[in-house]
Symmetry: C2
Subunit: 131 residues, 2 copies
């Protein structure tokens, strides 16, 4: 593994820990601190569907996530793959979405630049109701 | 990169070429030949939603894909990440689904055993109507 790949993996894993913390607690500030100012993310559906540009937009999104999942979401990481710039995490998650039982299988792909996350793509593996 | 990682990458890339050929042409036999007998796959929605077990079930699924996308689907590979056993391909695809314009962003994760694919998970990054 090259030094660049190792750095990418280390930074993405740190960000993923903060991401997991955000999902569990609704506190996203440590995760947001790891995003570049020009951070972009793609989301599969709803009002953040498609490409979203900028850290401020990310802040709005994670605020929306925290409000939607007030009791927190717990996740189980199943697989991790990586290359020199990108790390993909496959996991299951579970919680209450607007008070209703929620379960999903998710893949998130983090792009790393230096010691920050500059991009993120989320993919859904199920329907939010079952694995 | 270890010898095992290199083999995994090589096998998954070969399978992905056959997968792309299947999507484009509806001919899935070369892809199916690369699957283990105990192959399992997860799909996000519809009648193949959730876990599907066995190569015969995979044959039914890809027949269903071929019938749903009669004109073929073209894809653009955007990113590839891997580890010793798994390779994730992130791509966009486009075609006609039952005659209607179809576009999506997809992540597929292939698990490799020896020179075969033993598992596959598909994740949707959009709604089938736009990227």
């Amino acid at each position: 593994m090259t030094a660049e790949s190792e750095n990418t993996l280390r930074v993405a894993q740190q960000a993923f820990e903060h991401f997991e913390h955000g999902l569990a607690t609704g506190e996203w500030s440590v995760f947001l601190d790891m995003l570049t100012e020009d951070f972009t993310f793609w989301f599969p559906m709803g009002k953040f569907h498609g490409l979203n540009v900028g850290k401020e937009r990310a802040r709005e999104f994670f605020q929306y996530v925290a409000e939607s999942f007030r009791g927190g979401i717990t996740l189980i990481l199943e697989r991790l793959t990586s290359n020199e710039t990108t790390v993909v995490f496959e996991f299951r998650d579970e919680g209450l979405l607007l008070g209703q039982p929620y379960k999903n299988r998710i893949a998130v792909s983090f792009d790393v630049r230096g010691d920050k996350i500059c991009g993120y793509r989320e993919y859904f593996g199920s329907d939010g109701k079952s694995y």
